[in-house]
């Protein structure tokens, strides 16, 4: 665990930069984390982020986001290049998705 100041707020984050308390999340925080990842957030990003926050507890997968009606899987990769689920959950301020072993 570590402390980090993001968008003027002092936050507790995990070693790989995920918010510990998801209720502290704001859109400003999202923008700043995204900038660190070289992503500039647009409306589409925020639609996806809202979906992700809403479904945080239901076993998120890339496929699930792809069926959300907001983006397809390719579109999800375009928005969050590299690891879309890892990246988008970090920006959405929820826990890193742990696939059950």
């Amino acid at each position: 665990m570590a402390q980090k100041t993001v968008a003027g707020v002092n936050l507790e984050v995990t070693d790989d930069g995920y918010l510990v308390d998801s209720s502290q999340w704001t859109e400003e925080i999202a923008k700043e984390i995204a900038t660190e990842e070289n992503i500039e957030l647009n409306d589409k990003h925020f639609e996806v982020i809202k979906f992700i926050r809403k479904n945080a507890d239901s076993g998120l997968t890339i496929r699930k986001v792809g069926k959300s009606g907001i983006v397809d899987i390719k579109g999800f990769y375009d928005l969050f290049p590299g690891g879309p689920l890892k990246m988008s959950t970090k920006i959405a301020g929820i826990q890193k998705p742990t696939s059950c072993v």
């Binding site: 997968t61 496929r63 899987i73 990769y77 290049p81 890892k86 696939s99 059950c100 072993v101």
Partner: protein
């Protein structure tokens, strides 16, 4: 007469039928179990078929041998569950009513979810080993294969028995070494996970073992499609990996019947309370094993531990009491690592696989996250335990709840 209905006579359904019949008064409770297949498969054995270690005959027995007297067994397709009316519709209009329903219809592989997977190369140069047909076809292929690129890929999470593809590549390393062509075979492990496995300690241990055995790991690969012409798998972010033979874990889904019943999530797994194992939506429906969406491994050991919890909670539910037992997500998996050795992991919702000894602290005989001959014997003897003890719901000398005793952080 009150009725308990169990859907699915696999590992979970069979264990529950045995436990409940023993415990409940026959004058008072009618127990019925429904499955479309008459054959029970010892699924952990499928892995050994491609390498000629087991035959088809080693992994099949009639389901009826394991269903106790006093339980009605019906072999039929299930059309759907109508939870609002406490009934299940079978094929040809047959209707079964229930007071309590246990859904144990498992998970299955669906290669049609990935474009190009079930195409011209299917079961010619592309194989799954989660069906007996796929495992047998792969064995025939391997018997005369001259070498090349063997790619093992996992299409989607979650999937049944998360250690199986690792065991597959370890056993392949041994098999081709013994066949004298290991130098002509590249083994490539391609996974959507960020490493060999999910949790840090086991990922490190297994990652080192893969490295030692000269098996290449390609992480963060999320399968989009298979190109049959060029023999490549393609990911959503444009990576392409060529193969000469592809072993695949196709997308796993719950039974189509769950979808027809409107009870599943996007992969047909039923939203289930991870501690009580009751359906999140219906008070008198319980979900056992792979059919549920609980965040632990889809595996026989989990079903076995969960069955103890479910048994307690059904007793509570039929007496109208609060559900007392809480499942902790306990899983216990032997991992074949080749050349007569094996490893073992033991974990739950909260605790990642840790090194140590099992089941007796400091003694074992099995070593957690260690690579030993004894662990391999554990896996070998497990087939006997499965047929003779586990399916019949008899006690094993291990606890259903995970313990920290014998584990080191």
């Amino acid at each position: 007469m009150k009725k308990i209905l169990i859907l699915g006579a696999g590992t979970g359904g069979t264990i529950m039928a045995n436990k409940l019949r023993k415990a409940l008064d026959r004058e008072e409770w009618d127990i019925t179990i429904v499955d479309k297949h008459k054959t029970h498969y010892y699924q952990p054995g499928f892995l050994f078929i491609p390498f000629g270690i087991y035959n088809k005959q080693d992994v099949i027995k009639p389901k009826a041998d394991f269903i106790p007297a006093g339980v009605n067994i019906i072999y039929s397709d299930i059309d759907k569950i109508v939870p609002e009316n406490n009934k299940v519709l079978l094929e040809e209009g047959r209707v079964l009513n229930y007071d309590f329903l246990i859904v144990a219809t498992g998970t299955r592989v669906d290669p049609t979810e990935t474009p190009g997977l079930k195409d011209e190369l299917w079961q010619k140069e592309i194989f799954d080993f989660y069906t007996v047909e796929g495992a047998v076809a792969l064995r025939e292929f391997f018997e005369t294969w001259q070498g090349g690129r063997l790619v093992m890929n996992i299409a989607e999470l979650p999937f049944k028995c998360p250690v199986a593809p690792l065991e597959f590549v370890f056993l392949a390393d041994e098999y081709f070494t013994k066949a004298g062509i290991r130098d002509k075979v590249d083994i490539i492990y391609v996974t959507p996970l960020p490493g060999a496995f999910t949790k840090p300690k086991s990922t490190k241990m297994l990652g080192e073992l893969l490295n030692e055995k000269n098996i290449t790991v390609i992480p963060d690969f999320y399968l989009e499609s298979v190109d049959n012409k060029e023999k490549k798998i393609k990911s959503y972010d444009g990576q392409e990996i060529p193969f000469d033979v592809l072993a695949i874990v196709p997308v796993n889904k719950g039974d189509d019947m769950i979808e027809r019943s409107g009870m599943g999530d996007d992969l047909n797994f039923i939203p289930t309370d991870k501690h009580t194992l009751r359906s999140e939506k219906y008070e008198n429906i319980f979900v056992l094993g792979d059919a549920s969406n609980i965040p632990t491994s889809k595996a026989g050991s989990v079903v076995h531990f969960a069955a103890d919890v479910l048994f307690d909670n059904i007793q509570c539910a039929i007496k109208g009491r609060e559900l007392r037992a809480k499942f902790d997500g306990h899983a216990n998996c032997y991992i074949e690592t080749g050349f007569g050795k094996g490893s073992l992991i033991d974990f739950n919702y909260e605790t990642e696989p840790l090194p140590g000894t099992y089941p007796l602290p400091g003694i074992g005989p099995f070593g957690l996250l260690q690579n030993t001959k004894m662990n391999h014997y554990g896996k070998v003897i497990f087939r006997w335990i499965y047929w003779h003890i586990l399916l019949k719901g008899k006690e094993l000398p291990i606890e259903n709840e995970m313990t920290m005793a014998g584990k080191k952080r």
